[in-house]
């Protein structure tokens, strides 16, 4: 699996969305991406890339696109 595939899978499986929805997806834009879904998403991303995100980054993870930027900090290129 490529990093992009892993990243997309974390979103799709955790938030129950299709890949076509991902590009514009933002926190709290759908019922599934609420505070509970957010924590599940973080856990899935951390598992996928074997990283431990900092609290500030978890709070900053406000969109699918923003998550890609944040992951660069952990040396994960999407």
């Amino acid at each position: 699996m490529t990093n992009l595939e892993k990243y997309n899978a974390a979103f799709c499986e955790t938030l129950n969305v299709e890949e076509a929805q991902l590009a514009d997806l933002k926190y709290q834009a759908i019922p599934e991406w609420d505070s509970v879904g957010h924590m599940s998403l973080v856990a899935a991303i951390e598992d996928a890339f074997d990283i431990m995100m900092e609290t500030d980054d978890i709070i900053d993870l406000s969109s699918y696109a923003k998550g890609k930027e944040i992951l660069k900090k952990y040396e994960v290129e999407i």
Partner: protein, 178 residues
């Protein structure tokens, strides 16, 4: 009823609502994004103030303002209808981050189980209120099947035992405090 202490967390503090919070609590209660599943509330600031005064005297009724660590009010949460070993949880309206929302809820359950020494809490939500259902399940709620209430609205009842909460709390702590 007033709880004199402060429920302190890493991200938020909970304190009993005061009369000076009337404007804030009313603004939350009238925010359509936060109260989609609650009955419409068309009251004045004076009426909200009167409600808080009464609430502060009401036996077995605790209503907290949630403040972030900068002291900014970001929500409200309640533990009420305390009877014997059980209470209802709800009256939640939060505007903070995921960490703040989840910790605020956790502090309210700690209050119910550790301070009030209850054995269980109950929650009643509209069946299509996915956010509330997911939130209660995160904290170990066992949900009923959906049923129609007297008004024909579909509802789901939940029960959170102390044991179930403590099991869930271990997972939540790992998420919150990294």
């Amino acid at each position: 009823m007033i709880y004199e202490g402060i429920l302190e967390g890493k991200y938020v503090n909970l304190r009993s609502v005061e009369e000076q919070d009337a404007e804030f609590t009313l603004s939350l209660r009238q925010d359509p994004n936060l109260t989609k599943y609650l009955p419409k509330l068309n009251i004045t600031l004076d009426q909200q103030l009167a409600w808080i005064k009464k609430q502060r005297q009401q036996e077995g009724d605790y209503y907290f303002v949630v403040e972030n660590k900068k002291g900014i009010k970001i929500g409200v949460i309640g533990v009420y209808n305390v009877e014997s070993n059980c209470a209802e949880t709800g009256r939640i309206a939060m505007t903070g981050s995921s960490f703040e929302s989840i910790e605020a809820q956790m502090l309210s359950f700690d209050f119910a189980f550790d301070v009030l020494k209850l054995d269980k809490t109950v929650n009643y939500v509209m069946a299509d209120n996915i956010h509330a259902l997911r939130f209660s399940q995160l904290f170990g709620s066992k949900s009923s099947e959906p049923y129609a209430d007297n008004d024909g609205k579909m509802r789901i009842d939940g029960v959170i035992s102390k044991e179930s909460y403590l099991q869930s709390k271990n997972k939540i702590i790992k998420m919150l405090y990294r």
